[in-house]
């Protein structure tokens, strides 16, 4: 049963991140995803301190605010003339440093240590269960992630056309009367939400791996957005299963192994993808030279 819950949690994280990651990779905002996943830290710690529990709505809310604040600050600094790279770097390191400092100061109150921030606690996910009237309803993390996934699928499904247009041609989207800025912040809000829900299980930094790597793998395998989103989620789920197996064999961090598996899948796609792979390209080039 433990294995089932761990794999289910991992697959839910991978699906949430995979769907959103596809849009981040297309909009060239991979590093903003990285920045958000670091920046939600202070929000999480402050919510812990205020509510005293790890699984409140307050936590989700505070972390989302922090994520959106980071995006807002990054854009403000960019507009005031700082390079985009540098403004991302300044904002996320500052917020993450604040979060780590708060954790070290109030470590006893929040039952949260620095390791949990990095590795996550997916191995213990089945210990923290949700009980109603003495009936065991399964781990809380699974519920939280399930709700997050439903919200993400609902929002993306409802506004699929708008998100698609914003991802490929924001100028055209604006000309068509789509509120591009609103959809930008909506996407960023969803990324923050996914980050916070995944935070407990895979840790703040490895979320980035699941946001970017499966989406980039899918990007190498297909030219259609719909397929890319599905493939991205599937790649994430596949890396969860592979990673968990490797972690059991090696006796190592599960989250770390999941990201390594995702990286391995990316390397395979990079080399062997039939349309955009390295080898396929070389072969096509050679055939072209021969025919000439």
């Amino acid at each position: 049963m433990t294995v089932f819950w761990i794999l289910l949690t991992g697959s839910l994280v991978a699906s949430c991140c995979g769907i959103l990651g596809a849009f981040l990779v297309l909009r060239k905002m991979a590093m903003i995803g990285d920045a958000i996943s670091h920046s939600v830290m202070p929000g999480i710690v402050i919510a812990f301190l205020l509510s005293g529990s790890r699984d409140s709505m307050l936590m989700l809310f505070a972390a989302m605010i922090c994520g959106l604040l980071a995006v807002f600050l990054i854009q403000t600094f960019q507009q005031s003339g700082i390079q985009s790279d540098a403004s991302i770097g300044v904002v996320f390191t500052a917020l993450f440093a604040l979060g780590v400092l708060l954790v070290s100061l109030f470590a006893r109150q929040v039952h949260l240590d620095q390791d949990a921030i990095l590795y996550g606690e997916i191995a213990y996910v089945h210990w923290n269960v949700w009980e109603v009237n003495g009936v065991d309803l399964g781990p809380k993390a699974v519920w939280l992630l399930g709700v997050t996934l439903v919200v993400i699928v609902a929002v993306i499904g409802l506004f699929y056309k708008q998100f698609k247009l914003c991802a490929f041609d924001p100028a055209l989207a604006a000309a068509c009367g789509i509120p591009v800025a609103l959809f930008h912040y909506l996407l960023m809000g969803l990324v923050s939400m996914a980050t916070v829900s995944s935070f407990e299980s895979v840790g703040a930094i490895l979320v980035v791996g699941l946001l970017i790597i499966p989406a980039a793998t899918a990007y190498l395998l297909t030219d259609r957005l719909g397929r890319m989103i599905v493939l991205s989620a599937l790649m994430g789920i596949a890396s969860t299963f592979l990673g968990y197996g490797a972690a059991v064999v090696l006796d190592a961090s599960i989250a770390g192994c999941i990201v390594c598996a995702a990286g391995l899948l990316f390397i395979l796609a990079f080399l062997f993808s039939p349309s955009h792979g390295y080898i396929a390209k070389k072969l096509r080039m050679r055939k072209l030279i021969e025919t000439q």
Binding site: M29, S80, G81, D85, S87, V90, A97, I212, S253, G256
Partner: protein
């Protein structure tokens, strides 16, 4: 205050204090060039990529010496840089996504190796996880010495090759045209960045060491338009942050150096944003106000002139 003074009199503490200040100084200087070359986030990627290098160096030798870690991390950093370049050149993955992939992939590998070390039968591994968030107080004498020497070398290289680095930061095409070995210089700059990141890891930690490269340089940019002044200022800001972080973290237990150093640098950044001449928020407000007042003055003068002219034409018409 008293405790601070006794801390500063402790010779061990003095060494750590000096080496952290030197570290901030050298990272600030190198950060300027990476900022101008639009490679700020490369520092972050290199820092994360260094983790598996450090772990492998430890697994192979079983000792915790900064010099060995430096070699391992530099090798990992070079592989990471090469990987990013290879992926961007040979596929349709963009630079930022390639950076994210390499960053998280290497970091995941590092975490896996770290947990294998922790669960395995490697003796003397305590403190290896201090690399994640940095704890300057955990450094021993030889580490401090290595760190100081490396920082001084970094500063010296930047000083000697200042002209060359300046040219490849602003106009690499021109530099190539007049016969500079641009590719070599770019690789050298990248190597300096790797070294700066690696010596910084023990004091600031893998996750945050990039801030030492980025934040002081961005802050310095607010004060000047000249590269020479920017490099000096950025080094100064870095040194102040390093010093402040070490001092504050040594006053209480359980305070990691890394976050404090980064927050000190961020505080300096906010001061620069507010008070920087010309580009700062206050200066901008002041200039706007002055222009507005001048405009109003001009307009009122214009009105007065128009009134005089109108009166004269009226007078002329009456005559």
């Amino acid at each position: 205050m008293q405790s601070l003074w006794t801390l500063l009199n402790d010779p061990n503490m003095q060494w750590i204090f000096i080496s952290c200040t030197l570290l901030g100084l050298s990272s600030g200087i190198i950060g300027c060039f990476s900022y101008l070359r639009k490679q700020s986030l490369m520092g972050d990627t290199l820092a994360h990529a260094a983790l598996p290098g450090i772990c492998i160096a430890f697994m192979l030798t079983g000792t915790k010496s900064l010099l060995l870690f430096l070699i391992g991390a530099a090798a990992a950093g070079i592989i990471a840089t090469f990987g990013i370049g290879f992926v961007t050149r040979h596929s349709r993955i963009k630079h930022d996504a390639a950076m994210g992939i390499v960053l998280s992939g290497f970091f995941g590998l590092g975490i896996v190796l770290l947990t294998i070390i922790q669960h395995g039968s490697y003796g003397n591994q305590a403190g290896l996880d201090k690399f994640l968030f940095g704890q300057a107080a955990a450094m021993i004498g030889s580490d401090v010495l290595t760190m100081s020497i490396v920082s001084v070398i970094l500063i010296a290289v930047c000083f000697l090759l200042f002209k060359q680095f300046k040219l490849i930061s602003f106009d690499p095409g021109f530099a190539r045209g007049i016969g500079y070995p641009v590719a070599f210089l770019e690789q050298l700059l990248m190597l300096l960045m790797v070294v700066a990141v690696v010596v910084g890891i023990q004091a600031v930690g893998v996750v945050l060491v990039a801030a030492l490269l980025i934040t002081p340089a961005v802050s310095a940019r607010y004060w000047t338009h000249r590269l020479g002044a920017m490099v000096v200022l950025s080094g100064l800001f870095g040194a102040i942050s390093g010093a402040a972080g070490t001092l504050i973290s040594s006053t209480a237990a359980n305070l990691p150096t890394g976050p404090l150093t980064v927050l000190a640098a961020t505080a300096l950044f906010f001061l620069s944003i507010l008070f920087g001449p010309q580009k700062g928020l206050l200066a901008k407000q002041f200039i706007r106000l002055r222009v507005k007042r001048k405009l109003e003055l001009d307009q009122s003068q214009l009105h007065a002139k128009a009134r005089v002219a109108a009166a004269e034409t009226e007078k002329g018409a009456a005559l």
